[in-house]
Point group: C2
Chain length 181, copies 2
Amino acid sequence: MPNSTEYFKEYFKSLPPTHVVKGQILLRPGEPADKGFYVESGCLRSYIIDDKGKEHIYQFAPEDWVITDEEAMMDHKPSILFVDAVEDSVIKIMNRPADLLTADMTLEESKQLIQKLQKKVYVFRRRIIQLLSSSAEERYSSFVSTYPNLVQRVPQKMIASYLGITPESLSRVRKELVGKK
Amino acid sequence: MPNSTEYFKEYFKSLPPTHVVKGQILLRPGEPADKGFYVESGCLRSYIIDDKGKEHIYQFAPEDWVITDEEAMMDHKPSILFVDAVEDSVIKIMNRPADLLTADMTLEESKQLIQKLQKKVYVFRRRIIQLLSSSAEERYSSFVSTYPNLVQRVPQKMIASYLGITPESLSRVRKELVGKK
DNA sequence: CGTGGAGTTGAATACGATCAACACCGGTGG
DNA sequence: CCACCGGTGTTGATCGTATTCAACTCCACG
């Protein structure tokens, strides 16, 4: 769930804002991922739908975050992810972001990007370790303390999807937790 | 499970080789992660031990891969990971690798590193999505097709740990799979 | 209003974990 | 060279956590 570097921020400011409504889909699997979405206000998410038809949320992007299918973007492959709006949002759409990276980047900018990527790797690491080692309840508690603002804004079933559990299980976990507190 | 960039490869070649034996621990939680380990032959792994005393393997590093606690390294924090040898191995030990990155890196080199980090992010993405959406059997099948050479060399219990299941479950999954084939 | 999605709750089920016993080596020392 | 030992993997029985399926409530929104 990385936010933008200084480098990109400048660039985003220069772009015209786009208004999107809750539920609006910005990227679908199979489409070229030649756009990046910077979130000015609101919240987007990316997710896959597996072969059993179940949604799995890969990341949330609230204010000041960038979201797209980066792998598809960098390698000029079709996207495997959906991106849509969790809330009505104002975003900046960045065209051909891959070129932005490979072309006229200074050393300073590329070092910033390295920092950024590294942070992202850390976030993923925590998530992997948590998926390997923690129960549903521990994962939810950890989510609440890590992203307290998202808990308010995002429907429970999406949080469940992000955590890798069913909405019913999350409901029960929450019931347990109020009992404990 | 990223391997090294061209940039780093040159550097590694210049280092003296170190022989380590199976089971030898190279990094422990709490120690400063001021070394990176490049694997010339053999295989290392990194893992955590959780509060219930269970091992969770974060990554394997066979030939031509680099392994350490990168987060600890970059931020000069103590490591949270163990690194040890899965097999007798020949490695190159890189001292203060963080400095190597931040200091005298050219634009070309930093772009290589960006590519590298991005690949790593992709690998993690697949692992996250798989942990979210796949059964033990699917995860193992996928591991076998992605890392066929590791399956031969790494003890099953370590593969189980990497996949987030118990050795007993993996044994049963394997039994199921031979039946199917 | 009334309709549909979100959340909750209950009951039955399934998957993987746990605990325990045992077989099968690979290596070590006598 | 062989006997023993410890670790690895297998198998069985039982348990626990989360899933599934279903019913119901409650709003938010038309």
